[in-house]
Symmetry: D2
Subunit: 98 residues, 4 copies
């Protein structure tokens, strides 16, 4: 089952600047070979369900290892079985109707 | 790694009434032995990371098997390594300060 | 336009314990006369669109006034025009099909 | 109070293809003069609180007027009072630490 997800990891208890933790998660997702697009409030991720969720678990582990005692993430999570769809198609499809 | 999550599964392409799909997900979570609390816009889930995410994957599989061609879920996802915490404690802690 | 929402306010830069900020938001929502139900990962809110969103804005203002330099909230947001629905009905409807 | 938000509007009860509704929301946000960036699972929005939330309300109204009986949206919502920040800075800040 393929999934297109959108992940936003929020480390708590490490002060107001969280960009180094976000960067570490980008590294985890890249190392997992997943297709990603980072935007201003999260990261699009495309891949097989297990690969995506193993990487998300690794993000939490890494951010804790970096010293964050607490994390609150949010995730949007889309699957479909009627046809295959990519992140690029989703954007293009809306832009064409704009 | 323990997680407290909040899951909202939205089946797309099956009409306006989605409660039977929500009920099927509740069944999946209960069968997985997870601690849950259903509210008006999702379900709190408490358990070990892998057990929680195996159940969430199963929810998507079951809702697709029931005939929904597309699903868009949202998930909040909290982990902490400074101390153990339960769903009940989170609620009580805020209520005490009310 | 009536809305059923689910709000989770996460103050950033104030350490690991956030319950007093959550409690302050509960107070704001109660003072606004909104129907609410607090759970382990947010608060269900039912009311007219403008009343709900004025209260959510006030939550952010109050949490900043309490000393939090940064806030990252998440919101689920449901409207329907086919019929009226309450928070209790949403839960009951899924429970009946369980 | 300035806000950086991320909005994902999900029309329910109009079938599996939702791109024309997403495009209509993009039009609403553009007409409101807001700075936006559409990605594969939502749209970043930057602006003053009231302008952003008036536009989000208008998105729900327009999608209902187009025939969708029910909508379930999700929103991430960031405010900060310690300093000004733009969408571009948020992305660049994480990329520099990658």
């Amino acid at each position: 089952m393929k999934v297109i997800a959108d992940l936003c990891v929020v480390p708590i208890g490490v002060g107001v600047s969280v960009s180094k933790y976000v960067a570490a998660c980008e590294r985890v997702l890249a190392d997992a070979g997943l297709k990603t697009h980072m935007h201003a409030y999260g990261t699009n991720i495309e891949g097989e369900w297990d690969a995506v969720f193993n990487a998300i678990k690794r993000c939490h582990e890494v951010v804790h290892e970096m010293g964050s005692p607490r994390i609150s993430s949010t995730l949007r999570l889309g699957t479909r079985v009627d046809r295959d769809q990519t992140m690029e198609e989703k954007v293009r499809s809306a832009q064409e109707k704009f």
